[in-house]
């Protein structure tokens, strides 16, 4: 069902945990399945993500995409981090089954939420970042036809 990369990240998730006094924390829930993800960011004065950790209550795909997403944003600038979309994460994981595409949105949205938290705390505005919803719905991906 899952690719080898997904299984690897699921079995050995990178960057699990919390960051004390994080620069930004974002928690999102997935309205579709009820799963929850929280991301902690440590951002230095140059706007570079120095550290990133996550906690996930979710399926295998959720764990793996969180893990991969934290790896992908690490060391990046805020603007670069905004490019880490769920599609990019999925590609890096060699894909997800169609029914699991929505799980990858959790990671993307949690990063956005953490960045938003950071921006609010520091009173700045991040170009291209919209206020995250606490519950995300997916819109893009093609649903399996229902019969």
């Amino acid at each position: 069902m899952y690719s080898e990369k997904v299984m690897d990240h699921f079995q050995h998730p990178r960057n699990v945990g919390e960051i004390e006094n994080a620069s930004g924390v974002g928690t999102v829930g997935n309205a579709k399945c009820g799963d929850i993800m929280r991301i902690y960011l440590d951002i230095d004065d140059n706007g570079i993500i120095k550290d990133c950790k996550f906690k996930t209550f979710g399926c295998g795909a959720a764990v793996a995409t969180s893990s991969m997403a934290t790896e992908m944003v690490m060391g990046k600038s805020i603007q670069e981090a905004l490019q880490v979309t769920n599609k990019a994460v999925m590609e890096a994981l060699d894909g997800l089954p169609p029914v699991k595409v929505h799980c990858s949105l959790l990671a993307e949205e949690a990063i956005h939420a953490a960045l938003w938290d950071y921006a609010e705390k520091h009173g700045i505005k991040i170009e291209g970042l919209k206020k995250p919803k606490s519950d995300i719905h997916e819109g893009e991906e093609a649903e399996e036809e229902e019969y």
């Binding site: 929850i36 906690k55 209550f57």
Partner: protein, 387 residues
């Protein structure tokens, strides 16, 4: 080979070797079409008749009341849709429960779109249908009560005899989905006043793709699959002779071993339940502690999610399930766990382990140790834990 502890016998079972043995001659040797005139086909016909008799005997039914189908889902569809059609002039109200299998629930939704009204009975916190609600739900236009014999997720056994008595008293047809119960519990269709009963071969070490619907003589439902004159003109299609033979053998096997087998399963299962409940914190057993299928255990573990748990168990060679296999395409939490009142996030962390007679206490020790390790790991990753 990798260690394999198969604890998903409610999803499907291994076909027993003696069942396969019994089927084999009907593939390549006695492959005739039972409806044919020549003697060669008589072998197929006799085999079908013998299986029908074995099954009828096991239920206290008559052979001509057993109709072979492709499995539990077809049987459920047939019972509901054909009753709805045949009795629509009498009324358009059907009573079922909130914890039925989707083969019943989705068929009910289908009927609702076609003008039938369905009452979905509540269950108590153990998953037992409320009989007083049933009594209250009955109306002059009620044509059918369909309540499963035992639940596939939490194993709760329903008060079928009482439900049958109520149905009979009101002159309403009574169907029961016995897909999980048949072969695990003794069933007599007369004692329980059952008018129709669904069963499926692969749940009792028989082959997949074969099942039956018991239809009491006199019940006026018609065909669901129209065509040839097979099954007394009620179910068209060339008989699946090897499947029928295999089902017959599986029933014979299940009936003769029932007492001993289920006693062993119950003991091993209780050992598992005992250890899990005492050794793993934030955990509950779902379903009735004693009124449950002998091979079923269903737990909820707080702060974690079922699929992750399943995958990690899988990596240790343990096959379990969360919700039912048939719905694993879906992301909704189990409708059964919701019906017994679990909140969404607890329902989400549920695990069903269903045994077979080969599972030992040593296997269970391994399962418990694995569970402890995995649950620790998942909880440590969970944003809900230690909040």
């Amino acid at each position: 080979m990798k260690k394999l502890i198969y604890l998903d016998n409610a999803a499907t079972t291994k076909t027993a070797p003696e069942v396969v043995e019994a089927m084999l001659p009907y593939f390549t040797e006695y492959y005739g079409n039972p409806s044919s005139v020549y003697e060669f086909a008589g072998k197929s016909k006799q085999a079908v008749d013998a299986a029908r008799k074995t099954i009828a005997d096991s239920l206290g039914a008559k052979p001509e009341e057993i109709y072979f189908t492709a499995g539990g889902s077809e049987s459920d569809n047939w019972a509901l849709k054909a009753t709805a059609e045949a009795y629509a002039s009498k009324g358009k109200h059907i009573i079922t429960s909130k914890i039925e299998h989707h083969a019943i629930l989705h068929t009910c939704e289908y009927l609702e779109k076609r003008g039938f009204e369905i009452t979905y009975l509540d269950v108590d916190e153990n998953g037992v249908v409320k009989l007083d609600e049933l009594e209250k739900a009955i109306r002059p236009d009620t044509i059918l009560i369909s309540v499963m014999f035992a639940n596939n997720e939490i194993g709760t056994i329903q008060p079928i005899e009482e439900i049958g008595a109520i149905a009979k008293e009101h002159g309403i047809l009574f169907h029961t989905d016995a897909v999980q119960a048949f072969g695990q519990l003794p069933i007599n269709v007369d004692v329980c006043h059952i008018d129709m009963l669904s069963a499926s071969g692969h749940k009792l070490n028989g082959p997949k793709g074969i099942g039956f619907l018991y239809i009491r003589k006199g019940v006026k439902i018609r065909s669901f699959v129209h065509g040839g004159a097979q099954e007394r003109k009620r179910r068209a299609g060339t008989e699946n002779v090897p499947g029928i033979v295999g089902l017959g053998k599986a029933v014979e096997r299940a009936m003769s071993s029932m007492e001993e087998r289920t006693a062993k399963e119950r003991e091993t299962r209780d050992y598992l339940i005992e250890r899990v409940l005492t050794e793993i914190p934030y955990c509950r057993l779902n379903g009735d502690r004693t009124r449950r299928l002998p091979n079923n255990a269903n737990f909820s573990f707080q702060f974690l999610e079922g699929e992750s748990l399943l995958i990690m168990l899988d990596m240790k060679g343990i096959c379990g399930s969360s919700g039912s296999a048939c719905t694993s395409g879906s992301l909704d939490p189990s409708h059964v766990l919701m019906a017994i009142g679990l909140p969404h996030e607890i329902a989400h962390g549920s695990l069903r382990l269903t045994l077979n007679e080969e599972i030992t206490k040593e296997d269970m020790d391994y399962v418990v140790e694995s569970l402890k390790e995995i649950i620790d790991k998942l909880r440590s990753m969970s944003p809900l834990y230690e909040d």
